[in-house]
Amino acid sequence: MLDKNGIAKRIAKEVQDGFYVNLGIGIPTLVANYVRDDIEVEFQSENGVLGMGPFPFEGEEDADIINAGKQTITTLPGASFFDSSTSFSMIRGQHVDLTILGAMEVSEGGDIANWKIPGKMVKGMGGAMDLVASAENIIVAMMHTNKRGASKLLKKCSLPLTGVSCVKKIVTNLAVLEVTDNGFKLLERAPGVSVDDIKSATEGTLIIEGDVPEMAL
């Protein structure tokens, strides 16, 4: 079974040379730590920066240079700043190659719910609805089950949706799955996790073809 860093490490393998990537808050943010250093990748943050670098050294924080999580950041050579409209032109116009975000629920049809729990304080969707409605390549990073042990991979989402038929791939602490017309196709197992473990943690339709390999990290 993987921890959050393991999930990030596995997703980092999906990042290819020349990609512009938008990372959501939470596990997705960790992906930047594991991208191979022999490829060129630029990270976009929807508040208006392309070419994000690591956190600044202490004493070098700048209130005017932050990411979408409102954290102080730095920029790398070749970076650019832009307004919000331009930022979402990059996203809606499909110029960003890969979007990685967290989720509370994903349905076997690729619907995603990650912004609202009825009865709880709603903080808002931020840029998530724009990202999922537009991106061609969306990977969800999440735990396979919630804190109560219930599956987050469902036939149908029970929470209010963020987007419909948009998720292509899911990487959890247990598995890598692809969303197909017929349901979740199991691609890889996490180290030490059996197909039966994944079956019992998945409520939605699970497609298992042949031997499912263990993921290489």
Partner: protein, 232 residues
């Protein structure tokens, strides 16, 4: 040169009244019009509808207007990090409309650019699209979103000149350029106000035509919301 310079914040905010709709630039606490917000608190105008990506924190940004119960309605994409906001929202004192961030930006830009509405894929199939017109283009579904109508837009820039031309710094740019000229009156506060001729026309982010009044902000706290650093 058409001079947009006003003496200070009180002249810049002349004409603000109860029950108006205001736009505020900024993302989190970065690039917010601190001086205009402080003066709105002083003026005590109430019943405001505020269009802003976020709603500040308890003791800074739009949180200051919330503390004084001056805001009737917030239109935002993300409103975490504010206890008073949460209290007013749950008690029903405050009306909140949450919309996708890109839609917020584009509804501002549409108002600035003379478009009555735009089609966006964001929110299709979700509760955000409920009651709205939808349409298919090339096999994909879109939601019709209307341009905002606002009385004042309050923006903050790094440098400006007396002609109203603006230059922003870093990610403090965010929604500010999209809101310039998107309301009846655009008020820009700047850290540095220069005579005309001092800014290179090639470097201007927002031309002065979109700005009605410009003033030098007396105090910028520029608070950091999440201070994250790495070790040397």
């Amino acid at each position: 040169m058409i001079n947009k310079k006003v003496a200070g914040v009180s002249e810049a905010l002349q004409g603000v009244k109860n029950d108006m709709t205001f736009m505020f630039g900024g993302f989190g606490l970065s690039g917010i019009p601190e001086n205009s917000i402080a003066h709105l608190v002083k003026l005590g105008v109430k019943g405001l509808t505020c269009i802003s990506n976020n709603a500040g924190v308890d003791d800074f940004g739009l949180g200051l207007l919330l503390q004084e119960k001056q805001i009737k309605k917030m239109i935002s994409s993300y409103v975490g990090e504010n206890d008073e906001f949460e209290r007013q929202m749950l008690s029903g004192e405050l009306n909140v409309e949450l919309i996708p961030q890109g839609t917020l930006a584009e509804r501002c830009r549409a108002a600035q650019a003379g478009f009555p509405a735009i089609y966006t894929p964001a929110g299709f199939g979700t509760e955000v699209a409920e009651g709205k017109e939808t349409r298919e283009f090339d096999g994909k579904m879109y939601v019709l979103e209307h341009a905002f109508k606002a009385d004042f837009a309050f923006v903050k820039a790094w440098k400006g000149d007396e002609a109203g031309n603006l230059i922003f710094k870093g990610t403090a740019r965010n929604f500010n350029p999209n809101m310039c000229g998107a309301a009846k009156i655009t008020v820009a506060e700047v850290e540095e106000l220069l005579p005309v001729g001092e800014l290179d026309p090639n470097q201007i982010h927002v031309p002065g035509i979109f700005v009605k009044r410009i003033f030098h902000g007396q105090h910028f706290e520029k608070r950091i919301e999440q201070r994250t650093v790495r070790q040397r």
